[in-house]
Symmetry: C2
């Protein structure tokens, strides 16, 4: 898949990326992409992101094997945010949950865990 | 709903916010929130955002009437991104589409529109 024209990256050269489960619509994670990450995601069909903390390109699942196969790519009205509809191998979250959004806010501001735990991070990241 | 502890805002005081249709899981829009926008969204039950271009707090639907009633709030593993599961009145996008993510990338990099048009922006924003 080729990179569309007119995509807007912010003053740090990044755009917001959202990975959504193509099968059930669950939002799996939110990350950022620079132009190279977007290009690689489209060209290879496997999600790549840009890590703001590590300041480097990052192939999702590189160490865990939990890659995201890109099935559809959507852009928003401003062309500055992208949704990847993906087939997620394993889980998206490094904590072992399928989605990074596994915490729900209670009325009193406390958080409860509500999500599907799909792997044991101690085993997956032991290398 | 009270604001949870430990939320991380970036160096501009913002976090990524994703509005998702509570009924069918469609991602409606992506925007940013500062602490006040998050607090107001939780306290009032109606989505508020922070506009980076206009540099001001923004109640979604203020001029259009297309407000978002917050039904559930989820945080990600890093506590720096939030999903609002909302009941969307009208459409989320100023173009008249229900979702801002109405453009799908074709294999050749061109874009096709694929979404539900729910209002005429010329009528809604004529005031």
């Amino acid at each position: 898949m080729k990179i569309p024209e007119g995509i807007k990256f912010d003053d740090q050269g990044l755009m917001v990326a959202i990975a959504q489960d193509v099968e059930n619509g669950e939002v799996l994670m939110q990350a950022f992409m620079n132009e190279e990450a977007l290009r690689l995601s489209l060209e290879t069909g496997v999600a790549h992101y840009y890590s703001r903390s590590r300041k480097k390109l990052w192939k999702k699942g590189e160490s865990s094997g939990h890659v995201q196969q890109v099935k559809e790519v959507r852009l928003d009205c401003d062309l500055d945010a992208v949704i990847l509809k993906v087939h997620q191998i394993g889980g998206a979250c490094h904590t072992g949950f399928r989605s990074c959004f596994y915490r729900v806010v209670n009325p009193d501001g406390s958080l409860r865990e509500e999500g599907q735990k799909v792997f044991n991070p101690g085993q997956v990241y032991k290398k």
